[in-house]
């Protein structure tokens, strides 16, 4: 893809301004060029995700767990939609007046509608961002450490160790993950910790084969041999001499993995094998809204859009990182 990026660059530059003129003006051409050159929109989505995840309590307009059965399946009020519905509900008018009298701003409530027990969908989506963020990042990094360790050990030591570890990976690939996860949930009961463990189990396998291959070729190189001759310990060889050469691959695989992990977490939660309610994980929101998909589409459409945008952003960034760091891994997926 290297040649392709180059052609893109040149055409974009011609469209923007003459290459000699290196002034950063915000001309439409330059904006178009920058949007194609840098992952600006995905980065924005990620910033929004992180900010909403971290400041969920401050940003959410309403409590994400508090139920109010009077507002069950109440439609969204965003952009003044469904104003007829909201004006015809005496209780909602009464409640809004009551909220206003204690200094709250009721206009923020039910911007994206309410779910089947009258919880605020927007607040639940915002708190769901925090869960996605925590679950995915913990699983990603733990899985990375586990996978890299196994891959490096397998490649470096070879022989019986290698054989055992690689067969382990084969076996792991042959197990239908979703079924295993569902059985595990029945044994240990659904919880945040369990889903993290399950996602770690999903995350580690991607690194092993690639890193093993890289270590196999790296360890035959002269610099490793000379390190060994000068008396470097195995530990030192692995950390000082091998790992720096693997960082790119690790980073690329990890960045392509994030989207899959988010999707897996959502699928598990959707199947009822993930995060237990009333915790508002995005997959849980969709599973809960599934029965009302016809009468209350906002319960599934908005959380699904959130998952889609976040996964899209991570996949885009993953592609971008891969093209930058390691074009050889292009066919990895």
């Amino acid at each position: 893809m290297a040649s392709e990026t180059r052609t893109e660059e040149t055409t974009a530059l011609q469209g923007a301004a003459a290459p000699t003129q290196r002034v950063f003006r915000l001309s439409p051409g330059y904006i178009w060029y920058a949007l194609r050159r840098w992952p600006i929109i995905p980065a924005l989505i990620m910033v929004v995700l992180v900010v909403t995840g971290v400041f969920a309590d401050q940003l959410a307009p309403y409590d994400e767990i508090e139920q109010d059965i009077r507002f069950r399946n109440a439609p969204p009020r965003i952009f003044g939609w469904n104003s007829e519905y909201w004006e015809n509900q005496d209780y909602s008018q009464a409640m809004f007046r009551a909220e206003e009298s204690v200094g709250k701003n009721p206009s923020n409530r039910f911007i994206l509608g309410a779910d089947h027990v009258g919880r605020d969908v927007l607040s639940r989506i915002i708190h769901g961002a925090r869960i996605s963020l925590v679950v995915t990042s913990v699983a990603l990094f733990s899985g990375l450490i586990l996978g890299v360790t196994i891959g490096v050990i397998s490649g470096y030591y070879g022989g019986v160790v290698d054989e055992i570890l690689m067969r382990m990976v084969d076996v792991w690939y042959a197990i239908p993950f979703l079924l295993l996860a569902m059985v595990a949930v029945i044994i240990f009961e659904a919880s945040l910790n369990l889903i993290i463990v399950l996602l770690i189990l999903l995350a580690w396998s991607g690194y092993v084969r690639n890193l093993r291959g890289e270590v196999l070729s790296l360890k035959e190189r002269d610099f490793v041999a000379s390190a060994r001759v000068t008396g470097a310990s195995t530990f030192r060889i692995i950390f000082k001499h091998l790992l720096p050469g693997l960082i790119n691959t690790i980073f690329v695989i990890a960045s392509l993995r994030v989207g899959q992990l988010i999707l897996a977490e959502a699928s598990l939660s959707f199947l009822g094998a993930g995060i237990p309610g009333p915790t508002p994980a995005w997959g849980v929101l969709i599973a809960e809204g599934r029965e009302y998909v016809e009468s209350a589409w906002w319960q599934t459409v908005f959380p699904g859009t959130a998952i889609f945008l976040v996964v899209l952003a991570f996949n885009f960034l993953g592609d971008w990182v891969r093209d930058r760091l390691d074009p050889r891994l292009r066919q990895l997926d």
């Binding site: 079924l179 059985v183 969709i286 459409v301 998952i307």
Partner: protein
């Protein structure tokens, strides 16, 4: 080559054994299967009946013995009976397997038809609007959660427009290839194919780009071969290797990944059977489905290795 395949074959059998052993062990740890008979609030069983049941299900033996006995039964073709309805597991699975395999094949065909031509188009017209559309689709295709896409398809095409049905798979008795039967396949197979087509598109596009840049294509061009012939005869046939080899893996993924899509569309297949078996702790069905899924996976992997060597003679194991 032969040595490699034999090695892979035995490694595959080992994988299947280990996978079933893990699920077998876990399903025993998941709680007493006898609770199926004596659910809280049910009629209950007497202690004598309980003892008899335990002996019948071999629950009084150690776990390892249970597993080995299950294996010997398996070797004789005896998969056991389902716990509650006491039906033969082979029969139950046989009934459901058809639906899953059919859906798998339909989605695979759809994914190939969607993904491969788009990939070629995207590579040939590199940098054009088509290319950007293709690459955009490749990105979006892998970012949509299957279950959500399925729900949205149901919402739009079933609930709102009332064009397409879902919920069963039509009649199995009459002639199969009629609109009445096939229309049940459209929504679920599209939901599955959406992501798989994106994988095809990516692979075809990058393989095609690589081939179009190669020496023999340049030679063909300089000889004055027409563009159509270059694309389809010289380039496409060579670019086909990556998508073709991956297609077996995709096929396996479609079948084993049926759990989610069958739940969304209430498709009467193995995936939903397995989900039900997990919820009921009906371990004979559960282990048998895992056995089936693992076998499909291992066989397909083996097939991919063979296919690789057949298509590309440069590859020698």
């Amino acid at each position: 080559m032969r040595k490699f395949l034999i090695r892979r074959f035995f490694a595959g059998i080992l994988s299947i054994l280990a996978a079933t052993a893990i699920v077998f062990g876990l399903s025993r740890a998941a709680g007493d299967p006898l609770l199926l008979y004596a659910k809280p609030g049910g009629y209950g069983v007497t202690p004598e009946q309980e003892q008899a049941l335990k002996e019948k299900l071999r629950l009084d033996r150690p776990l390892v013995v249970q597993y080995l006995l299950w294996l010997t039964d398996l070797a004789r073709g005896d998969f056991g009976k389902t716990l509650l309805a006491e039906q033969l597991v082979t029969r139950v699975i046989g009934e459901k397997m058809g639906a899953t395999v059919q859906l798998g094949i339909a989605s695979w065909l759809l994914a190939t038809v969607m993904g491969v031509p788009l990939g070629v188009l995207s590579a040939v017209l590199r940098g054009s609007v088509w290319d950007y559309l293709g690459r955009g689709y490749a990105l979006i295709g892998q970012s949509l959660p299957t279950f959500w896409l399925g729900l949205m398809l149901i919402l739009i095409f079933n609930k709102q427009l009332d064009w397409l049905p879902f919920g069963t798979r039509g009649s199995t008795e009459s002639f199969f290839f009629t609109w009445d039967n096939l229309r049940y396949f459209i929504l679920p197979s599209f939901a599955v194919a959406w992501g798989a087509a994106a994988v095809y598109l990516r692979l075809t596009r990058s393989a095609m780009l690589e081939v179009l840049d190669s020496e023999f294509v340049k030679l063909a061009r300089s000889k004055g071969v027409g563009q159509t012939k270059i694309i389809w005869k010289h380039a496409f046939r060579n670019a086909l290797i990556p998508p073709l080899t991956v297609s077996t893996l995709i096929m396996a993924g479609l079948i084993t990944g049926s759990v989610v899509v069958e739940t969304v569309f209430s498709w009467p297949g193995l995936g939903r059977l397995a989900v039900q078996a997990v919820q009921d702790n009906d371990f004979p069905i559960l282990t048998a489905t895992v056995l089936f899924f693992a076998t499909v996976f291992v066989l397909v992997n083996l097939l991919t290795d063979i296919l690789y060597a057949l298509i590309d003679p440069r590859i020698r194991y």
